[in-house]
């Protein structure tokens, strides 16, 4: 195994943030080197230095022993470095295949692009990845998970010697993660070096050879994955031990039903879904990619128009036709796509946290009590340990995980009775994750009805009092939470297709 990359004493400052403080990192051919750390530790920044997006303020980059500078993403590609970005960087108006091969389109005579070859090549990659995505589909019509798959396919198409994967599985479910790991194993055997960033600890054990931990922009240490217990890695990351909690299912037999959904339908994405959530209950939603969980949440929240269905809040039928109505009825929705649907990236943290809450922070003339809003925001920054130089920082400058926490903060402040969390821990570090679990549990204890949609089965199992499972737009069953239910049972329901599906589509 020879050394592909050696980063030494890399330093990087942003206005108000010392993001990298003399970090070192190396990578060998044919290994998976995991890069771990809390949100905002500097993982993405370090990798952006490696892939030519940022120029370091200090330190050296060596590739195969030779010192280089990497002035642009293009230069990085030329050096054989490919990167899957944490934030999806796709061109929504182009098709899947066009995205994958942007900048490297096969040509025909007369400057024409060879569209057929392009689609075929994309299809080949998807086949190798064992997933079915239509290469001709416009990217904007794909779900987040599918888009993530496209990103992965794109980086694979580069045939890079070094592949940086910044939280590639954040939006994927177990099956897809499994497929990705198969691909990673294959790449490893071909001698590709892989930098793997993830907040999912179990993945590290499965595929990483070595683990480097960062904290607060500084290098903490590098260990061998096989002979280091997870708890050691976690304590390297957060500087303390985390206790592991079990779900504790309260007795809700007397609790009133907070939300009842009947016959919810929209096209083929959601078909006749009905369930109830009691005050104080956490209802988990499991299912495969595209099962329709997000769509159910959007319909309840009024973000999309439902074809049929009734939504009953606290025993009264609520007429919800827009998110405004839903919020007025006491429903909050934390969307899975924070960048496009959750945050106004150009505005600061306070403005984002304030967005659903301005009515409470303004007087009769609509004048905002900005100081008060600011101090409340500071409280949440502390409570959720959001890493930001101040509550006036623009959200786009925060790390991915910290952005997610800002979305959380805005709904926590809104104090809704019914909260729908769609992938609430996507991209959130292990320390913060257990904070969020604790938070959700305490919200439930306070009598809130909570729906948690998650593609991570362990998360669903750990949080839910009951577990609803969806498959292809239908609710295939509701299982009890806690130890009583196994992952296998959930997967069984999640793959319970309807026989006549093919006929129905025609």
């Amino acid at each position: 195994m020879h050394e592909l990359i050696k980063l030494e004493a890399i330093d990087k400052r942003f206005p108000g943030v010392h993001a990298l403080k003399g970090v070192s990192f190396d990578l060998f051919a044919g290994e998976v080197h995991a890069l771990m750390g809390e949100n905002g530790a500097g993982k993405s920044t370090l990798m952006k230095v490696l892939s030519g997006i940022w120029q370091p303020d200090g330190g050296t980059i060596r590739i195969a022993g030779e010192e280089v500078t990497i002035p642009s993403p293009h230069a990085a590609q030329a050096l054989g470095i490919g990167m899957i970005h944490q934030e999806l960087a796709l061109m929504n108006d182009l098709t899947v295949a066009q995205n994958i091969f942007i900048g490297r389109e096969p040509r025909k005579s007369f400057w024409r692009l060879d569209e057929a070859a392009l689609n075929q090549a994309a299809q080949d990659i998807f086949s190798a990845m064992n997933i079915s995505i239509d290469p001709r589909a416009e990217v904007r019509t794909l779900s987040v998970a599918q888009q993530q798959m496209v990103e992965i396919a794109k980086s694979l198409s580069h045939k890079s010697r070094v592949l940086v994967m910044d939280e590639p599985t954040a939006a994927l479910n177990d099956k897809e993660v499994h497929d990705l790991f198969t691909i990673i194993e294959r790449l490893k055997s071909e001698g590709v070096g892989i930098v793997y960033i993830s907040h999912k600890m179990d993945e590290i054990k499965k595929i990483a050879d070595r683990v480097t931990v960062m904290r607060d922009g500084a290098y903490v240490g590098t260990v061998k994955a096989s002979d280091t217990p997870i708890s050691t890695i976690i304590s390297m990351m957060v500087g303390r031990e985390l206790e592991n909690t079990e779900v504790d299912i309260p007795d809700l037999s007397d609790a009133p039903v907070a939300l009842e959904v009947r016959g919810l339908s929209r096209g083929k994405a959601v078909r006749d879904v009905g369930f109830t959530v009691k005050a104080g209950e956490i209802l988990g939603f499991a299912g495969l990619m595209g099962a329709g969980r997000t769509e159910v949440a959007r319909l309840i929240f009024g973000a999309d128009r439902r074809d049929a269905g009734e939504i009953v809040v606290h025993g009264k039928t609520a007429s919800i036709s827009s998110p405004k109505d839903a919020v007025a009825a006491g429903i909050g929705y934390l969307s899975e796509d924070r960048k496009h649907l959750g945050l106004a990236l150009g505005l600061d943290v306070t403005a984002n946290v304030g967005l659903p809450n301005l009515a409470h922070f303004s007087n009769g003339f609509g004048v905002i009590a900005d100081a008060k809003l600011g101090s409340v925001t500071r409280d949440y920054i502390k409570q959720l340990s959001i890493r930001t130089p101040s509550e006036r920082q623009e959200v786009r400058l925060l790390s991915g995980g910290n952005q997610q926490k800002v979305v959380l903060a805005k709904w926590l402040l809104r104090n809704c009775d019914i909260l729908i969390f769609d992938e609430p821990t996507r991209g959130i570090d292990i320390g913060a994750k257990s904070e969020i679990y604790r938070l959700l549990q305490s919200l439930a204890r306070d009598g809130k009805a909570i729906i948690v949609i998650s593609s991570e089965l362990p998360e669903v199992l750990r949080l839910s009092h009951r577990i609803a499972v969806m498959c292809e737009g239908r609710l295939t069953g509701i299982l009890p939470g806690g130890k009583a239910t196994t992952q296998e049972e959930i997967m069984h329901l999640a793959t319970q297709r309807r026989g006549e599906l093919g006929g129905e589509a025609a």
Binding site: A326, A351, L355
Partner: protein
């Protein structure tokens, strides 16, 4: 740790102030240059002329600033201004109503037209460019129809010309005869800046431009607020209509076409992004002054008219470039 953070906050805040002060760097350079180049430039009468020349475009630019921050555009501001002036003319001269009614009619008509544009855009989802282009043409035609294709004079309403050309400040501070039209511009700028920075409407204005869908999913009634912004902007165009009518002592029904471009240019020169989500009224005012100082200075220097145009084009590009380089440095 807390200390560093606090320091950094302070630094940020002060750099914010610096930035705003420096945003006018191009303007200041221009002022100094023209003062040195011609001794006529700094005469009080000329400076007041500049202020007055800025008032109409400035007010229109303030109106369109809000719209641009939502990520929209308003091409109808110029003809809406004219239309409200014509309405004021009809109310005051043709119907002989008292002055306050004319003022209310102009501003109300402006707000109403803004409301229509806003509704087309927010509820019927017509792209702002098309909705306001349509409005621009409709209002242009209606101004001609209503006025009977001729100017309406305000000779029957003696106080009317005071709206723009009188000087409240001048009666108090005699050596500062700043015309009322300019006073209106400044008061309006402060008012809109207050709305943008301190009120819910302002916050939603930025949110709409930054990420409308995120705002909608936060339970914000985005359509309603968008209509509000366009209505307010329309009302401000009504004020511009009053100022220009008062200045010309007449409602000129064919005026106004092309004014939208000047207004939008002032906004963009002032650093507001056409993509929405960011911008400031102060910047817009500075942008409007950059344009009028430049034109006035070139006229004072008796630069040939064709070259005035060339130089204006180059300076606009340069001013924005300088502004950008400066911002990147900081």
């Amino acid at each position: 740790m807390t200390l560093t953070v606090q320091n950094e906050i302070k630094k940020k805040a002060s750099s914010g102030v610096h930035q705003k002060l420096l945003a006018s760097a191009s303007l200041i350079v221009m002022l100094i240059f023209f003062s040195l180049a011609s001794d006529k430039f700094l005469q009080t009468s000329n400076l007041i002329g500049i202020l007055q020349a800025t008032s109409v475009n400035g007010v229109l630019a303030v109106a369109v600033t809000m719209v641009i921050i939502t990520g929209g555009i308003d091409l109808s501001v110029g003809t809406l201004m004219t239309f409200t002036a014509v309405i004021a003319g009809v109310v005051l001269t043709y119907l002989g109503m008292p002055l306050p009614l004319g003022i209310v009619a102009a501003i109300g008509t402006g707000a109403l037209c803004g409301f229509v544009s806003g509704t087309l855009i927010a509820r019927m989802k017509i792209p702002p460019f098309i909705a306001t282009l349509g409005m621009m043409l409709i209002l242009k035609g209606l101004s001609l129809v209503i006025s009977g294709t001729k100017p309406i004079y305000f000779n029957g309403t003696p106080g009317f010309s005071q709206i723009s050309t009188g000087s409240l400040i001048g009666t108090v501070v005699p050596f500062l005869p700043i015309p009322n039209g300019v006073l209106v511009l400044f008061v309006l700028a402060v008012f809109v800046a207050f709305i943008l920075n301190r009120t819910a409407l302002g916050r939603y204005t930025f949110a709409l431009g930054s990420n409308e869908e995120a705002a909608r999913l936060s339970g914000v009634n985005t359509d309603f607020w968008k209509v509000c912004v366009y209505s307010l902007s329309g009302g401000i165009c009504g004020i511009a209509g009053l100022i220009i009518a008062s200045r010309l002592n007449s409602a000129q029904p064919a005026l106004g076409l092309g004014y939208e471009l000047d207004a939008i240019a002032a906004v963009v020169i002032g650093g507001t992004s056409l993509a929405g989500g960011r911008g400031s009224v102060l910047g817009t005012i500075i942008g409007a002054f950059i344009m009028s100082v430049l034109l006035n200075g070139l006229r004072i220097l008796s630069v040939a008219q064709e070259w005035q145009t060339v130089v204006t084009g180059m300076i606009i590009i340069l001013a924005v470039y300088a502004d950008m380089v400066r911002r990147q440095r900081m």
